[in-house]
Amino acid sequence: MKRKIAAVLITVSFIAFLLIGLSDFPPYGTADSAVYNEVTARYLEKSIEETGAVNAVAGMILDYRAFDTFIEASVIFTALVLVLMMLQKNDKANGGDGNDHAHH
């Protein structure tokens, strides 16, 4: 019970804290926010010319910020390797290199 009250209190104060920070932001859906700067302008204006992509999002994630996407692919790879490691029941499809200590 104590723990529940503590959790609720922490969460409520946390939300309040975030909301206080939120009050500095421009209203939802208005155009005067800081994100419409030279970066956005270039991604929209030059996307076709520099990346050839009509879809500016595709141009952005695979050309302007392609490194992110490359690392993202390696995140998937890491997760795949890990799940393979954890759930693969021993040496069935894996070719099984040798003596396995067989402790479950």
């Binding site: 800081a34 050309d63 490194f67 890491t78 290199d97």
Partner: protein
Amino acid sequence: MQGLHLTSLLSILILMITAFIMPVIKQRQLVTKISLATMGVVLVMLALVAVDVARVEHYTATIGHYDAPFGITFDIGPIEAVVGVLFAFVSTMVVWYASFGIHKEIKENRVKLFYTLIHLLLASLLGIVFTSDLFNSFVFIEVSTLAACGLIAIKDKPENIKATMKYLILSSLGSGLVLMGIAYLYSMTGHLNMRAIHETLQVSVAGNERAILVSLTMFTIGLGIKAAMFPLHIWLPDAHASAPGPSSAILSGIVIKAPVVLLFKVLFMVYGHEILKDTVILNLILIFGATGMIMGSLFARVQTDLKRMVAYSSVAQMGYIFFGFGLGNAMGMTIAIYHILAHGLTKSCLFLSVSSFIEQTGQRDIDNMRGIGREMPITLAIFSLGGLSMVGIPMLPGFVSKWNLALAAIDYGQIFLLLIILASSLLNVSYYFPIIINGYFGNANLEGKIYKSKMKPVRELVPLILLSIMMVIVGFGSGPILDWIASAMPSL
């Protein structure tokens, strides 16, 4: 000589690409060889990065064809170079050490995954340190979290699963907070590049104070969880104590350091001192750091498991780093970065020697380490050297940190902080010295122990010896290193 700039990116790409190849190779030996060779190449490349930085002081490498605010860039200066060399050196030594004995600790068919994960981990840690793009660093953080979890869970014991679960949940919470911080910053400035954010923030600080404070808190808590800042350290002892020896060395030596470097960059390069001095964040970090220094040592004192003790000692040592940040003056920050180096080398040394104690004797309890000095003289010597460095014996890196931290504390103007450093050092003495003394001396301890009976072959100890030599070099050569790091400190 632009070609040298390639090394920073190339080291990451090579690590990633070899990691992609490894899972399909059948023979364990071949994977080990590939891993060792790659690590050697990467170490050379990081050395070249350091040479390059020594030449030009600071450079920006554009990853892709677009310059700073538009594309992703690496910003590399002395701090990044030093930390990068540390990461590459420690992982090379750990891989070298692991190549002799990792198959005894984990299942045979997981050995190649161990190397795959180490490659991914090192690549992501280097990325976190080098990148100057906040969102890019977030993605790297996620790779490092997953890979680090894998390195704990690779040993199939129940306590490993439990520790990994704890680590994963807390770490994901931390990532979430970091991402929220990035969202707030992006909303305020419209940039993701650290320099661009800094410049925009300088202009638009008025009217954004509350949002700045919120985002600052998010970054501090989020990265604090990952870097085991004191009250958020609860995942660390389980995780670092249960992982296989080489994993522990990597986890304690370098994995918790990368978020610290990122926190440093976020605090002092993104926000900058102008903003920080109006907030309480630095004071909070100072308090948490100081508490960590004392409490971590107190917890370490009461442990009966040797590896757990060393793990708790990491909490205390991370406290020193946060303490240095919290002071907020140039000297404190320089020492914090230097202590990343000192602790990274010392702790990986300690963990590797502890893991060879455990491997050779089969015992984990501190009480069972009596007389180990006769059975494994070299390993205990290395352990003692690390312990002495932690305690703060002159000329070893731990001493350099403590001494300069004390000077920085005096500079800060709070004398009681000196007492905290002193108390923490005394506590360090109280848990490292008994092991060393009981290991080497006392008739009761040495009775029935046969000289060198459990020693590993010397060639298997080479990486450990190299690590300790490097540790001593970093201690003796602290002057130039400190000067070099200090030259990169953002002006206050």
